[in-house]
């Protein structure tokens, strides 16, 4: 019998109870949330459980919600079960003051650079990452550019007239 979103939800709730929450289905894709401390347990369960087998990590990215106190930075994992052809989205939220998340590198080798990119853009500290340094930006950069409080443009530029660009 093919795996459905309801089966996945049931299995997760059965195993983790209150630690997983916010099950939503948007555009056919089931998405849920777990506490940041348990992300590895959930990922391991999704990997090992014979009926679930989410063994392909499609993507890790971060999102910044500056208005959501205590849950400012979200790390979103997209997983894929290639045999049943089902995708899954798994989110965790961490406060911007202590953005610590356990690394998924031991489980998925592809998580290595994706976590470095999330660190580079949002400042998420992946605990246990073998090489957590900036990957896309210059090493000397001292802020995390994709957070909403920082602007897109280079602030050190002197020859651009903000008035002319509608930013006066």
């Amino acid at each position: 019998m093919a795996l459905t979103n309801q089966d996945i939800q049931n299995k997760l709730q059965e195993k983790f109870g209150d630690l997983v929450s916010n099950f939503e289905e948007s555009y056919g894709l089931l998405s849920f949330e777990a506490t940041a401390a348990n992300n590895l347990k959930v990922l391991q369960f999704l990997y090992d459980e014979p009926s679930l087998q989410f063994q392909f990590l499609t993507d890790i990215c971060g999102v910044n919600f500056p208005d959501d106190a205590g849950r400012e930075i979200s790390v979103v994992y997209h997983l894929h079960n290639l045999t049943e052809n089902i995708r899954l989205r798994f989110k965790i939220f961490v406060p911007v003051a202590a953005p610590d998340v356990f690394t998924a590198c031991n489980l998925f080798s592809s998580a290595n650079w994706m976590e470095r990119e999330t660190y580079d853009f949002y400042g998420v500290n992946f605990v246990g990452h073998p090489n957590l340094k900036r990957i896309l930006n210059v090493d000397e950069m001292d802020y995390f550019p994709l957070r909403k409080e920082y602007p897109l443009e280079d602030q050190t530029r002197i020859d651009k007239d903000d008035e002319m660009f509608g930013r006066g």
Binding site: L136, N137, V138, P145, Y150, E153, D154, Q155, K160
Partner: protein
Amino acid sequence: MSRPVRFNTTPILATTADAVGAVEAPPGFTGEGFFTTQLSSVVGLARKNSIWPLPFATSCCGIEFMATMGSHYDLSRFGSERVGFSPRQCDLLMVMGTIAKKMGPVLRQVYLQMAEPRWVIAIGACASSGGIFDTYSVLQGIDQVIPVDVYVPGCPPRPEAILDGFMKIQDLVGEESIRRRHSEQYKTLLNSYGIQ
């Protein structure tokens, strides 16, 4: 059916009757077995028809450069058949593509390794001024780090535009005075970039 074509309905086919032309000699005085002209003209003539470019291709403009090097829009007609990747051996630094701030020091290093006389052509909007990427990580034009001779706008510029820019470089090379590289003006230009 699909809407009718309005432009170029009778394309002009190319002919090869006058495809090959000899380079014009510079103005001078000819006599029996001798020809006098300015040294800079002869040197310029030789240099401009045998420029060895260094394609510093970083992104999309690099692919248009590959199309320019292809047989359709042949760049080797202008004498630059031999592209080199070593700055020590090249005359023209063709910067094609976006230069990010991380790449800036590398570009400067490559420019410093080139021997005089050297020219720089900035191909594409990103190399000329940062292009559409007015962001924290993109250098807003390579003339922030190295002096540039010709800018070719476009995103990416058509191969014809790259060839036009190349021909302008040829004009610059052909007209250049022998003493330019030792002149005060050139030295102040380089000093403004922090290059000795």
